[in-house]
């Protein structure tokens, strides 16, 4: 790839649009749950990885619909049938109906992994302090390519052909759309100070569900409707 260095490290060009994230709704903290590490959406329910448990709640009522005894320390993704969950240094493929682990692959960051999304037959895995997003083969875990960001990468999600990811460094956190080819930042939604994004997933429509890390909350953030 023949990009300029600025593009390669994901430097924000002047054209990137910046605005405040609009938080539509907050869920949790849920009883007995410490932190939210990963978030996904199966078309109906929001899934959240909370350390020792995976839980699914109904975004309308906010009530917990399902709880799986599966550990989850970072990103969660859904491919239409199975859940993928980062636990320690591996990615478990989980049958949401039974909670069974049907397969496991090594995580590309060897445990330094953060967010995860499923799109176009690949898994996209954020590597937190390395500021990277890896595209990997969901069968083998092989890294197909790597996109670099200039911020610590948390959640990753695809929606309408757009690649979005969360960042969280110290007190500053945002949700940004990047060019999946170059890593160039196209758009940024800034979270309020002290409010972080630990994992995220689009609902396929107008919302992002964002994990709030140790706050134990999941927040719904409005996705900007085009330029």
């Amino acid at each position: 790839m023949n990009q300029s260095k600025a593009e390669r490290i994901g430097k924000t060009p002047a054209a990137a649009r910046v605005r405040a994230a609009e938080i539509v709704r907050e869920y949790g903290p849920f009883a007995g749950i410490g932190a939210i590490h990963g978030v996904s959406h199966d078309g109906k329910r929001v899934w959240a990885a909370t350390g020792s448990k995976l839980l699914a709640f109904d975004p309308e009522s906010g009530r917990i619909a399902r709880t799986l005894d599966r550990s989850g320390d970072a990103g969660t993704a859904f491919d239409g049938t199975h859940l993928y969950q980062i636990a320690e240094a591996r990615i478990d493929k989980i049958d949401p109906a039974t909670g069974d682990i049907v397969a496991s692959i090594p995580a590309p960051g060897h445990g330094a992994d953060s967010g995860m999304a499923w799109a176009e037959g690949s898994l996209w895995v954020g590597q937190y302090r390395e500021r990277k997003i890896h595209q990997i083969d969901p069968e083998t875990g092989a890294v197909l390519r790597t996109i670099e960001s200039n911020r610590f990468v948390t959640g990753v999600t695809w929606v309408d052909g757009e690649l979005w990811h969360g960042t969280w460094e110290g007190d500053a956190s945002d949700i940004r759309r990047i060019n999946p080819e170059s890593g160039t930042v196209l758009e940024r939604l800034e979270m309020p100070p002290g409010v972080g994004v630990s994992g995220m997933e689009s609902d396929g429509a107008a919302l992002f569900y964002c994990g709030g890390g140790p706050s134990g909350k999941v927040r719904a953030v409005r996705r900007p409707s085009g330029e």
């Binding site: 320390d73 240094a89 995580a107 445990g111 330094a112 140790p214």
Partner: protein, 406 residues
Amino acid sequence: MDSLIAAAARALVTGDPLGALKRVALREDPPALALRGIAMAQLGEHARARDLLRRAARGFGAHEERARARCVVAEAEVALAMRDLRGSPRTLAVAALTLEARADRANALHARLIGARRLLLLGHVDEAATALSSLDTQGAPPSLLAVAELAAAEVALRLLNTAVARAAFARAREAAEHARVPSLLAEVAEARAALDRPAARSIQAGQEKLLRLDEVEALHASGALVIDGCRRGLRVGSNWLPLARRPLLFALARALAEAWPGDVDRNLLITRAFSTRHLDETHRARLRVEIGRLRAIAAPLARIEASARGFALRPLGNHAVVVLLPPIEGDQASLLALLADGMAWSTSALALALGDSQRTVQRALVELEAEGRVRSIGLARSQRWLSPPLTGFTTNLLLPAALALA
């Protein structure tokens, strides 16, 4: 935060430091170093823990000030557990301000508590009391509340305020039960036992009696003139005339008080005060001078009247005279009684107060230190002696989960 860091933090919270280490043992990034440091601290490897926490603090970037401040706080707590008090209180205060500015109130409180406990260990009881009274414990985690109450109880005990100490112990126990930390509960119970142990002996008109701390306090409140052989001085209520630097005058006062309401023969006073058996006229002259000095110092509380054969103590008002002594006899008991105020004493001040040579006192201190009944800070000329804290300091109260976050 990444997956193994989250998993390691989860293991730490559940009290599994080995499980946490297993996940991040080979990683050198700052969050991993911090978690390794905390795991090591929980395993009692304090020196290693400090080193790791320092490296973690250095490794966090300028935009990760909160994570860095948390490392500083954790390192300060490890240092406290090691009884290493050389660190700068400023660094800790800056970390507390950083955490407060970022609305991390629990960890800010944690930092301030470490600062106050450090002052207690250094023998700055009044400063510790001030620091503790300015803490905002509203909505704080119960484990931190328990630590705050324990520190408050320790201050109250040092200042001989048993009712306040008792109340603080009760709140500490409640908080510790709430926090469900067994080591904290054990610590509260252990510290509270200080209230029930004999703290002193009293001699009044020839009658000897063992006193608990609250009985000592009641004695002070009774209006009696107390010749305090534990802290070396005269007291009526809150009126305190220290004689720690005037051992000879204290010996005279004690001799007069033990004979009260009777008088004491001049020769006996000379024997007691000057430690000599060969009396001559110069001793009598010296006695007159010293009695004159004691009379001047004691004037706010008592008169010293000359009698036909010697002198007699006459407290102002119609109050009793009571001599207070360490619960057991001996140099060691006297040393421990002096150190019970929680202050830092130099060897020379202790020797002066007890009227012994520095050599004798040093020997006794070294023996007591070997038994863990006194401790010292500083070296050579700046060495100071203190009694060990009544309340221990557990080290399992570090900030495990919080530290993992940038």
